[in-house]
Structures are given as structure tokens and as C-alpha cells.
């Protein structure tokens, strides 16, 4: 009964079948094939007793192995439906809803599918650069015409009618399809706002089989979900800028934003914790000193650069012998050369 209902209404959901009593057993791993599930169900035998706890552990294992933990929404929305088939036997279904039932957001127009989904603007894929997302959703266009809507996707009772209805719907222009096509061709994403300080992106995603889809990914809620874009509320249209920030020939980009202070690996920091750090720096100066007097400029450059860090660290040495030695060494080097 349940499977029939699901097969009708949630064809794309994954379901697995776990039988349990004092032990638990995975009868059917996650699948979209409802016939297999039905068959397994009809072959079930009665076991000794009901032990829900063990079963829940089992389910937890099965789910983690299959889907991982990447998306917290999966855990939140895990639907567990208990069905009393028999006094001694429960069957536990674990349907992973598509990361929430609204996974398949029925997107009619971008502007009115979800009450507050608005496009803010567009950004190149290279600029948004694989952002971290909290969830992903497939965006499916739905029929605009009422007649078509009545026999919309998911109704399988009269397959022939459905086909014709679908064909009809396929011929009505739909914004999702246009948007998808242009995003794909241009290599861009549409930045969308779902609510106050909550943003996401619409983009085209292709799988290996040349199938392509409009997807929506949601960022963590917050005014600045991606450091390299800055605050989303501060993103404005390029027409307001004095000069096109992308250049006349799209040769440049205003993204990513640079942080005010460079990270340690992006600047010359002096770290002498390991002997090798100190040795390398000393070595650098000596090497250049040896090339004196010809390469005086290079030598000064190196000394100036190194000394910026050294000044601050050298003072800490209780013995200044090293510096004295270095001077001697330099003089020797100069003499060697000469």
C-alpha cells in the first residue's frame, strides 16, 4: 500500500527496506525500484520479537554508509514510517526524502515558486568558485497551463494521457529552461535571495550522460556567506560602476575580494623555529654576499628584504656571534671573489 503510494507520488525518492526483531537485516538497499521492495516485503517471515532500538541503530548505519553526513538536512528530515503488519513484526521504512520533501521544488517562475525567491544578479562560475553549500535542490519547471497542471508529473495512472499532457507542456515556453540554457552557455550562476540574509545560487549542472539540469544550492544563512564575494547586500549592478569592472572585453573581474591583511603564506614571514628556517635565511645572504661586488644591488635587495624579518628576530639572540661571523664571512667572500 505504502509502496504503491510512493511509487505514484515520489518516484524519485530512495527507499530501503529493513526488517527487524531482536536482530535487524537490510533486505533491500536504497533504491527507486518499488517492485523489488514489494517483492521483498511479500517474502518476509515472522521473527521473534520487536526490538526497535536495534533497528534504529541499524538504520543509522545503513544511512550513514550510503549517504554520508554531508548534509544535515538529511538527518533532520529522515522520515521513518512504522507500519504495524503483525504483532510480532514491524517493518521499518527509511525513505530519504530528497533532502527534504521540497527537494523537488516545483519552480514555476523563479519569481513566484518560493514566496521569497529573488534573483539578485549574475556571477561567473569562475568568480563564485565552488562555494560551500548547505544543501542542493533540483529545480523542476512545472506546467503553466491549468489543464496541463492537472495531470502534472507524478501521475502514472493513465500513462497515455500523461504523455500527451507532457508533450503539450513541453511546448510551452518556460523560464526555467531559458535560464538554464543561458546559464549553461555563459558559464554563470544566478545569485538568489531566499530571505533576509539568506542566499543561494541557481546553475546548470550536467551529468555524465549529457543530461543537464537547473539546480539550486543554498549557502549558510548570513550576510556574507562567501568571504571572496563580501557582503551580498553590497553587490550592485555593474552599470552603477564608473568603469566596467569586468573590462570592456571581459578580461578582468572584481572578484575575488582581497582581505586587508595578507595571510602568513602570502607574505614574507620570518619563522626560525626550525633550524632550517634560520639556516636558509643566513644562507641566502651569504650566497649573495659572495657575488659582491658585482651584484651589489641584488645583495642590498636581499639584505633589505631579509633584514625586515631579521631585525625583529636577531635582537632575541643572546649571542651576537652569528652576526659577527656573518660579517667576517661576507668580507672573506668578497676577498675570495677579488
Amino acid at each position: 500500500m505504502l509502496f504503491e503510494h510512493m511509487a505514484t507520488n515520489y518516484r524519485l525518492e530512495f527507499t530501503s527496506l529493513v526488517a527487524f526483531s531482536s536482530l535487524w537485516e537490510l533486505l533491500v538497499p536504497f533504491t527507486r525500484d518499488y517492485n523489488t521492495l514489494q517483492e521483498a516485503l511479500s517474502n518476509l517471515e515472522d521473527y521473534d520479537k520487536t526490538c526497535l532500538e536495534a533497528a534504529l541503530h541499524g538504520v543509522s548505519n545503513v544511512v550513514q554508509q550510503e549517504w554520508g553526513h554531508a548534509c544535515p538536512t538529511q538527518v533532520i528530515y529522515q522520515a521513518m514510517i512504522l507500519i504495524d503488519l503483525d504483532v510480532l513484526l514491524y517493518v521499518l521504512y527509511t525513505a530519504i526524502p530528497h533532502q527534504a520533501v521540497n527537494e523537488y521544488i516545483k519552480l514555476n517562475y523563479v519569481t513566484n515558486c518560493v514566496p521569497d525567491l529573488e534573483i539578485v544578479g549574475f556571477i561567473e562560475i569562475g568568480d563564485i568558485s565552488s562555494p560551500p553549500v548547505m544543501s542542493r535542490h533540483l529545480v523542476l519547471p512545472i506546467a503553466v497551463n491549468k489543464e496541463v497542471d492537472d495531470v502534472g508529473p507524478g501521475t502514472t495512472e493513465e500513462p497515455e494521457e500523461e504523455t500527451s499532457a507532457n508533450q503539450q507542456a513541453g511546448k510551452v515556453p518556460n523560464f526555467c529552461v531559458l535560464l538554464h540554457g543561458s546559464l549553461k552557455v555563459e558559464g554563470m550562476v544566478a545569485l538568489v535571495q531566499l530571505g533576509p540574509e539568506w542566499y543561494g545560487m541557481l546553475y546548470s549542472q550536467a551529468d555524465s550522460k549529457k543530461k543537464s539540469n537547473l539546480m539550486m544550492s543554498l549557502f549558510e544563512p548570513g550576510p556574507e556567506p562567501l568571504p571572496w564575494l563580501g557582503k551580498v547586500s553590497q553587490l550592485g549592478p555593474i552599470s552603477d560602476a564608473a568603469e566596467n569592472p569586468y573590462g570592456e572585453d571581459d578580461s578582468k573581474s572584481p572578484f575575488p575580494l582581497q582581505p586587508k591583511i595578507k595571510r602568513s603564506y602570502a607574505q614574507n614571514v620570518t619563522v626560525w623555529i626550525k633550524a632550517s628556517g634560520l639556516q636558509t635565511d643566513v644562507q641566502k645572504i651569504l650566497r649573495n654576499a659572495r657575488k659582491l661586488p658585482e651584484k651589489t644591488q641584488t645583495f642590498y635587495k636581499v639584505v633589505t628584504r631579509e633584514s625586515a624579518g631579521m631585525d625583529t628576530l636577531l635582537f632575541m639572540f643572546s649571542r651576537l656571534k652569528m652576526v659577527e661571523n656573518m660579517e667576517v664571512e661576507s668580507i672573506h667572500s668578497i676577498m675570495d671573489v677579488n
Partner: protein
Amino acid sequence: MKMFSVSHKTAFVVDHCPYMAESSRQQVECDVLTKSRGQGMIPLAPVSKSLWTCAVECSMEYCRILYDVYPLKKLINYIVSDSEFHILNSWRQEDQSTHELMSALAAVGPPNPQEDPECCSVLHGLVAAVESLCKITEYQHEARTTLMDTADRVANRGRIICLTNAKSDTHVRMLEDCVQETILEQNKMAAGSDRLMPIQQCELVLVHIFPQGEDTLVSDRPKKEVSSLLTSEVHSVRAGRHLATKLNILVQQHFDLASTTITNIPMKVRLLSSEEQHANTSANYDVELLHHRDAHLEFFKSGDLHMAGSTSRDSGLKETVTLKWCTPRTNSVELHYCTGAYRISPTDVNSRPSSCLTNFLLNGRSVLLEQPRKSGSKVISHMLSSHGGEIFLHVLNSTRSTLEDPPSISEGCGGRVTDYRITDFGEFMRENRLTPVPESPDAEASGKPPAEKAKAQLERYTRYWPMIISQTTIFNMQAVVPLANLIVKESLSEEDLLTCQKTVYNLVDMERKNDPLPISTVGSRGKGPKRDEQYRIMWNELETLVKTHVAGSERHQRVLDCIIACRSKPPEEEERKKRGRKREDKEDKAEKNINKDSEDKSWQESERLKGAVERVKEEQRESEVIKDSPDSPEPLNKKPRLEEIQLPEKAKGPVSLLTMWTNRITVANSRKHQEFAGRISSVNNKAELYQHLKDENGMDLHENGKATR
């Protein structure tokens, strides 16, 4: 839940007393790399660092890692203590950089061994640290002001890391007691101040540093509660690399960091076996990175951690997860499904392998990382990538997706339409790309935030935007481009207006020359509409476009006026009257144009005669035209329909962005204010002005009603 954890504020107290000048007795060989020198050179003598040098170096390394991983909101206050305390920076965000601290430390200089040991103590610094923890940071201040009623959610907690050389366990206890007493004292004072907050929780981390080869006088002690406000722990560590390792572990514990080692990094090595001989070989290297431990969440939960090459911290060895470098493909711009991105800091920032890796990433390349699994199979689980000079470890989803094998978009609604204006919409997207706008201090005064301006622009640009090529004429015509580009602007300059008018005259010219138009013949039998009807369709569409922007400004209105004036068919009577009145009101610039003027005259002559007949014809043509196009709306209701707004033209066939936005804007507007009476009774959000004139003339609102696309 309370805001601001213990790790929001860290006070470093570094002992600067004479005894810290003592040698760590760990020698650094300076001569190792200069073996190849010629004879007669004086070898470099090895050097050793003082306890002070070790303490400063290792604490700076702690700060470096912290600032790399948390550039904001994790603050350090650095205090040096000898005969008095020296506070080297403040809690302010702009004071938080290793560069600042290094310069300040250079000014402090090494400990003076001649100073009187009796006056010197680390206690001065500890007292200053407690006082400092009572001072609120800019973040705490901001949170307190914005929260107002619930300001008590803002906690004041902090950590003191004290690097010293203690005499004994008793000495340590004395230091703890002192901190405890100072907290109680300071909390009393802080209670009555605006800029101070009582300390609610303080973690004291005492690190006792002693020279190599000596026995420690102080015993290690795990965290214990001194009071409800203070916990204390003692780490007894040898100076030198042991201290460095200890502080590295501490920074990881204090800020929830974890370690990842990237293995198999191919690197060209320039061997300096001798001065002249450079050998280029390739070798594989490992680089260790620190980052927030959530980047390993997947491993922790799946129990794959041990398989991933980690070793337990209890065994004294470093705990790190090993991921394998995958040589990147060139220049592929791709959106990966990424569930998290965490800033990294290399453990050994200046080593050659580290700097090779970070420079490679900073130059814009990304590297995928492979995770060895229990089963022996390998999975791409992470990616290293830099954004704006910051390197992030991205966590990629490596488990099965619930979205597998979805139907292609071409199988769904609208999937079989083949003439979408994909290129045009692409062009539209490029024009509506975003750019960061610097925050100006008077942003509040200057109106809408940039993102709202971007949305408003999208709304304007899409008021009339047919989705498929066969649905539009004007957007298939090069001649219309200048006008179409300008009319969507929020405001038009005088020059813009002239360009629009020129565009219109140009179209008039084309019509006169009987130039062919790119009218779609899809769905119509035979050759499609006749030339003059093609122009009618074109003019109607152009009018529709411009009408959606007429409310924008007076110049927008003048563009419409120009179209109405110039189009081949005489406009309706009231339109002319309106225009006539306007001309009287102000010397219209467009009027100077002879071309237009002459046309106007000719209309005036003929129009009276044609009058009513024309109108009837026009209506007939209207319906013919509509039947011509497969995607046109149904013929209009000729009566004014006030109830129309209740039924947005949702279910009526052709779908344009205009329809979507209009519906949206109607809803948005209705929330904000009482609707303007004219707009309520309008169709398509356009209020018909001078309705009384029409009523007097006994005419219907036909003209208004037709523009539903």
C-alpha cells in the same frame, strides 16, 4: 545561548625577566649549508636561542596560525612582563597582525640580564592580562548595543597563556591564586563600568619553559577548577622544538583545529650540490596544514579516520589526516559540490614544500585531494583552492547523492521549445553581473543598498522580455537595439531621449522604404502577415515595451509620445489631445524635429475624417494579428475590467518575464502602502490618465487593455 566563547579573547603573558635571557641550550648549526666553501674560510659557529627567544618565537607562531585560520573575531592581547608590564597591542581588530606584534617585540628587545631580579616578575603581566580581559572588544560592544534587551547573552570569557620559567609547584600555585584574586577585584570594578565587563570564565594556561638538559622543577598538571571563574592547567616544557610542538598542539585545542597532511606533492628540486652544478629532479613531498576540524567531520562520523592515516594524539604523536595530491587538470572552471570551505595555515610556512604548494594555489590553481578508504577504494574528498589570496580547504561531497539520475530539463515543461532567446538572455545576464560596492559611511543616507539596486535593475530590464524568438519582432531587429537598451534605464538623459527618438524615426524610414521585418512565420500558413501588418505588429510591440517604462520619468513618457506620434496609423484622439496639450505646456525638444512636425500635421489633416472608422478597423486588425501569432494572448476583453488585477494573467499562455515581475511587484507594492487609485483600476500596472476625457468621448479602454504582454 551565550555569545563569545573563551577563544574570543586570548591574552599572552610572556616573561621578560632576566632569567629568561638564559640559553635554551638547543644549538642551531649555521654552517651546514656552507660546506662547499673554499678553503681558508672561518666556519660559522653554532648559535643557541635564549628562553625568551623561544617563548617569543613559539607564541608568534601560535598567533600566525590563529590569524591565518581566523582572520576576524579571535583576538589576541600580547603582554610582556618584567619590572612592570608592557601591553604591545589592543583588542582592536586592526591591531591583530603578526607584523604589528613583531615590530612591538623588536622595540621591547631581549631581557636585560643586569636588571634587578627582585623587582621583576611575571605577576605584573598576569594582573594586566586580567584587567585586559575585563575590557570589552568592539565585537562585544556591537553585540551588546544591537541586542539591547538580551544584552546579557553577551558573555565575557577569555584565556590567559602565560609563558614563564617558574621556580616550583608552589610558585605556580602562587601565580594561580594571584590571578584568582585579581579576577575578583577587577570584576567588582567592572560591574560599574560601561567599557568593562566582569569576567565570567577564565582559562589560565601556564607554560613553564626550562632549558634543555635540565630537570624540570614544575610538574605537568591537567586542567583543574580553581574557582567557578577560573580553571588552570600547567605544561612543563623544554625550550626549543618541544615548546614549538606544545604551542602548536595548544592552538589546535584552543581553536578546534585539525591537521591534514597532503602527500605526494610533486616538486621540482633544485639541488645545490655545489655552486656551479644545479640538478633538476622531481621528488614527492608532504605538507602539513592546519584548519578547522569540521573539514574532517565526514571522517569522524564514518569512522574512517584511522584508515585515513591518522595517529592518535594520546600516543604523543601528531594527529593528522593524510590526503593524496591529484595532479590538477588545466584550467577547468567547474562548480564542485562542496559542503564546506575552511581557511588553512601551513604548519611549516617557510619550508620549500609548503611555499611551493601555497604559491601554486595562490597563483589560481586548484588541487583535488584523494582520501584512502577502509575498503581500499579511493575517493576525491577535498579540494585546495585560493580565493583572493586566502587558501581554503574545500570539503567535497563524496557520498552517494539523493539527486542521482534526475530527468533532464529538456524532458520537462518547456523542454521542447527550440527557439528560446538563449543568446539574448546570456547577454542580459552579462549586463546584470554583480560587482562589490565599497561600503560608504553615509550609505544609510544614500538610499538603497547595492543589492536592492541590482534587483530593481533586473525588474526594469525584464518588464517586457519575450522568452522565445518567434514571440518577438523588435528584439530580432538591429534597428531597435539603441532604444531597447536605453528605455530600461532608471532615468534617461536628454541625449538618451534623442537616441530613442532617432531610433523611432529610423523605423519610420524603414517602413516608408518598405524594408522587410524579421516577423516569425511559425504557426502561420503561407507567407505570414503582409508587410504593413508586420509593421503594425512591430509598432504594437515597441509600444508595449516602452509603455512598461513610462512611469519611470517624463523622458520615458516622451519616448512613448514619439512612438505614438510617428507610427504609421493615426493614434487615437485622446492621445493626440494629450500630446497637443503637452506641447503647449512646454516647448518640447522633440518638436523641433521637422520630420516629426510634418508628420504630425499630416495626421491632423487626415485624422478627423478617418476617426471612428479607423478605430473599428484597428480593433479588427488587432484580433487578426493576434490570431496570426501562436503565442499571443487571447483577444482582449474590450470592457474595462477592474477585477482583472485579482486574476493576474497567469494561466494565459505566453509567459514573459514581464508577467512574472508585474505580479510580483503588485504583491510587493500592496504590502508597502495603500495603492494609488489609478493603479488599482489599471491593467498591467499602467494607469490610464485623463480617463474622464475618454468617458466624455464615450470610448472604451481598449488601448489600455491590449498591452498585456
